[in-house]
Amino acid sequence: MSAVDHVHRDLGTPGSETDRSVCLTIDGIAVEAAEGTSVLRAALAAGIGIPKLCATDSLEPFGSCRVCLVEIQGRKGTPASCTTPVEAGMVVRTQTETLARVRKGVLELYISDHPLDCLTCAANGDCELQDVAGEVGLREVRYGMAGANHLAEPKDVSNPYLSFDPSKCIVCSRCVRACEETQGTFALTVAGRGFDSAIVASAADPFIDSECVSCGACVQACPTATLIDKSVVEHGQPDRVVKTTCAYCGVGCSLNAELKGDQLIRMEPDADGGANHGHACVKGRFAWGYATHRDRVLKPQVRERIDEPWREVSWDEAIDFAAQRFRAITDRYGRHAIGGISSSRCTNEEVFVVQKMVRAAFGNNNIDTCARVCHSPTGYGLKQTFGTSAGTQDFQSVDHADVVMVIGANPTDAHPVFASRLKRRLREGAQLIVADPRRIDLVRSAHVEASHHLQLRPGTNVALINALAHVVVTEGLVDEAFVDERCERESFERWRTFIAAQDHSPETAETFTGVPADELRLAARLYAGARNATIYYGLGVTEHSQGSTMVMGLANLAMATGHIGRDGVGVNPLRGQNNVQGACDMGSFPHELSGYRHISDDGVRGSFETRWHVHLDANPGLRIPNMLSQAIGGEFRGLFIQGEDLAQSDPNTQHVADALRSLDCLVVQDLFHNETSEFAHVFLPGTSFLEKDGTFTNAERRINRVRPVMAAKAGLSEWEAVSRLATAMGYPMHYDNAAQIMDEIAELTPTFRGVSFAKLDREGGMQWPVSDAASLGTRILHEDHFVRGKGEFILTRYVPTDERSNRRYPLLLTTGRILSQYNVGTQTRRTANIAWHARDVLEIHPHDAELRGIVDGDVVLLSSRKGSTTLAAHVTDRVTEGVVYTTFHHPGTAANVVTTENSDWATNCPEYKVTAVEVRPTNEPLGRDD
């Protein structure tokens, strides 16, 4: 594009991975290029221009436009430079009379079937066809415009974000190839042949009704205005770029925010982004409109009592109000009566100041984070076994996997950009094992099919993983050399004896999990026998009463089979939120300072005390569930909540509401009023990711820069508001900018040594641990040895959850996400993404539906021993008999009205994924919706 100075220069074809290079001559210039590189890429990289249309370096060469033709000495004809690999000694000419004629001839043909409305075209200034026509010197179209053409083809504007104008299509197939190669959805195709060739979505459906997942890869790939962002159509071309990081899921895509003034025009994924390499999804690319939604609260608000209306006040007044109330509580009830919750949606710097405020200004360790309710078992389980509370790999590692086990995760919906990479690897021949109660899309979709779908009953994960390990141990599939060298022998022997017992056999497991023993055995052999096998898991692993046990079970299995410590293997949590990893890293847990170091460690605590000039409490503080129960009990009375809708997202809604209502002071820092702010006394307006300056750390431990695209709409950054509150509480806290916070983090946290905004700006995102030895970070953990020294095998006895189906509640409810929506929907519901998911539905097996007289679309009452809500039923065999499933993106669904207070034994992570329920047809209206 010409209007915006792109960081990435399109070199036409993908780079070659080899380090062998060859020398050739292009237009008399000696050029060196990696073996396997195309002539086109070699020339463009050397600054020699060759016009091109169908080639773009995110896609394999196609050779259709016939514009990048060259002449090569000793070869017949005019080969396309995009499809011709370089060879040593090759002599290439890119500009000859013949080439000029044919290029002009081809462009003349293109333009003979293209509208001549460049001046009013939305791609004006960003059109490769226009550019190439200029480059080749096309001056006239001698064919005239009266011949056969596609100029009257109607536009498809059914998709809320993109428009498709076939009259401008040059049939280069870049969109189709992007849909296949980059996204892996295969929604687009070419219908017809010859001159009738036309791009269609699914079976020539309107885009909105097609299989298209609106990832936007096609829009980005389109060289003309055929597929274009509606925002560009409306506002024109952007004129500046700010590189930042997506704030939705834990993939952490690098995005280029393209602006005109402070008007965000579009988000383009960054080709150099370490996590996403130029790809994005419908949320990251398009669903940022909430940032400027009219519901945003832009002025601080206070109220004496929660039944009073809000009063807009100045920042100073709001902060004084909060500080006074908190102080009043501690004066009366002691310093342990208040606390804070940090948010996985905020930057590392914002989280760090919140926990600092709690520890230094509140004077206690009552700090917890919303990661408590998602991935706390990951931190615990991986720390126990490997020594580091984080996933072992980067996303790129999956390119080397031969077997991929996906457990309790639904990447195509929840982590779509990683899913695309995974699907590409699967198309290359890697085999897939899916363990999920529900038939997720990965089990069978275009050009992807799981070798094994272990469709287990919710709540039986540990029985499943033990059975897999049992097969490994009893069938001689242990990687003895790895275990010998890398693991605690004693713990292994103990575990081997434990797991070899008959009660862990697949045959026994079958009685719990419902997965046929044979299938379990085959899956175990496939995983163990692979050259490289890797595990990716999500909340379906952690959000259980045995969440931590299951994480350790995964770690045991990976260690026993030697699938740790190199490319293509590992144990990888797919983090739900953009900064779950970071929020945990930053010392958000009551017992841990940044870098997962225990608060009781005098040395560690001492370093913070020295730096912060304050005495820190050596005793761990309260976890969220403790805060809530103590609030009901009256001992806990003041809470600061950063960016989390506790009342909607935490289990057992009634219990949460009772607790929040009991507080003397609830301070909420957020973008919008929500269920939680109903109970708040102070509302501090937050900043959207477009206003933040800081870093997010994604699921691969990659610290990515988040840069402000626009000024903070409420006037203050979140870290500034928190610093002021801490200061008002009597602990002076001041930073000139967010970079100083990172400097402090780096100073205090060994795994962040040397990290600074300047370094991240210079080198790009990097994966912790960053150290003197690994100054650009660490892609893969535990390569030579485990961080804890030797890997520890931990016994993982299966203990069935207390939440069991019975006669009254015969079904098991489990929950998940859908592609277009994000968590409780605070953001995505305030964007056009609502077009794809106007309401949550309850998936129920046809047999269970029939027993209850439920037909597809019926409103049903979903009830548990905790509460009930109403939903529309979707009858489908994606779920097995006895299991129902819902998403929780709409507040009206109130899925957590029914979830229980059961939680992980180690971390208190709630057991969202198993609730015994009953479903009945009802005449009640659908759950409240806002």
């Binding site: 016939r66 499809t83 004629r101 043909l109 064919y143 049939v171 042949r193 010859g194």
Partner: protein
Amino acid sequence: MTALIFVPNDTGACSLGADAVAAAIEATLAISRIDARVIRNGSRGAYALEPLVEVETTDGRFGFSRVEPHQVAGLFVAGVPDRRHPSCIGLVDDVPFLKRQTRLTFARAGLMDPLDLDAYRANGGFEGLARACTLTAAQIVDEVRISGLRGRGGAAFPAAVKWQTVLDAADPVKYVVCNADEGDSGTFADRLLIEADPFQLIEGMLIAAMATGATQGYVYLRSEYPRARDVLTRALVAARRAGVLGRDACGAGRAFDIDLRMGAGSYVCGEETSMLESIEGKRGLVRFKPPVPAVRGLFGKPTLIHNVLTLAAITTVLGRGGAAYAAFGTGRSRGTMPFQLGGNVANGGIVELPFGASVRSVLQEFGGGSRSGRPLRAVQIGGPLGAYLPPSLWDTPLDYEAFAAHSAMLGHGGIVAFDDTVDIGEQAQFAMQFCAHESCGKCTPCRIGSVRGVEVIERIRRGERTIENVALLEDLCQTMETGSLCALGGLTPMPVRSILKHFPGDLIPREDGSASK
């Protein structure tokens, strides 16, 4: 002794009534006392004689040409063929159209039941395979190299180069693919061979597998050939039953089998790379080369691709030896070529000759002049993308290089004759129309260029700004030839340019607006 009566089951013969004739003969035999049996053979390829009924006698096979069902009863007198019957043409082997040919590939065509393996063997079948079994893979490739055999599908690429490439490829999985998507107008040799002598193709593919190490073969047959499909399907079953194909097909426990895959009516799927796409179950879209299929072909594996006639010729190359095969022909065009003579000629059909005969001799000696009786004015050789040649060039020898020198090609060997009533301007437009209809749509010169070509030629024929439009047409031809991804767009200019060169008056109207000739 039971007399044998042959009635072709060939598509061409049947379109002329052979099935009805066969039924009539069966009916006659059923009520007469003649001790005879009807064999449905393939066609000998002399279509002017079809339906050609042959009766085997101790003197040889007597033929009755253009037999109609009502004549059947009169073909026999007292149980023997009536040599004085008006439709009797005497001994079939003596028919000049056949006798003057050099039949190597089509030597067996029409002699037997195409599905009779014993008959195939008795008529020289499997000699090539037997010889191949005594050679190493490299020696087989050497034989092919010595033979000088070039691809008969149209591109005339030296066969041995492909064989060597596939042989040298280290991949344990390789394929042999036979291209039987015979789409050129005026061609029918592939079909006739499959319908008359399918085991020869199977034998040729087996030899190719032995030489290259392929374990699986595919035949890609056009959907417009239902009879060929039927014959080949049965032939494959018979070959498997006889152990010719299967687990030990190549000896020493080396397996080889052949799958039949049907096209779906697309001409461009006869282009080798789009054929591979089609076999893989994808849209018939042309792939770029390199990599050539011999390196990365079907399912990404090294693949030997040949036309039916090339693979069939392999049996002769091995059976008689490469040198014996190379003894036929001229220059770099070695061996024989089964030309397919059609259009406005008296005698159409297969004319297998060594390379080097002149166009004129084929038209006159075999074709017998025009069917209409009017003077012949043009021939198009090499299918719809071949050049139209005027009589002044008919002394050109049928030889790849000699044709190239005249901006023409032999292609797959189709020869279509036109008499002086032809509107060659319309033929020029048809060339572009054909391309527009069959373009896969991948590359721009072919996808849009062919459509513009039709429009520009139409304007020229209407006499609109002819100088500018002819210049535009020439530029377009240049763009298509230089820029197209495959031979469809690349060769479409050939007939157009030959018309601009040799028959300009047919295309460009005179001042008064009338077309001149």
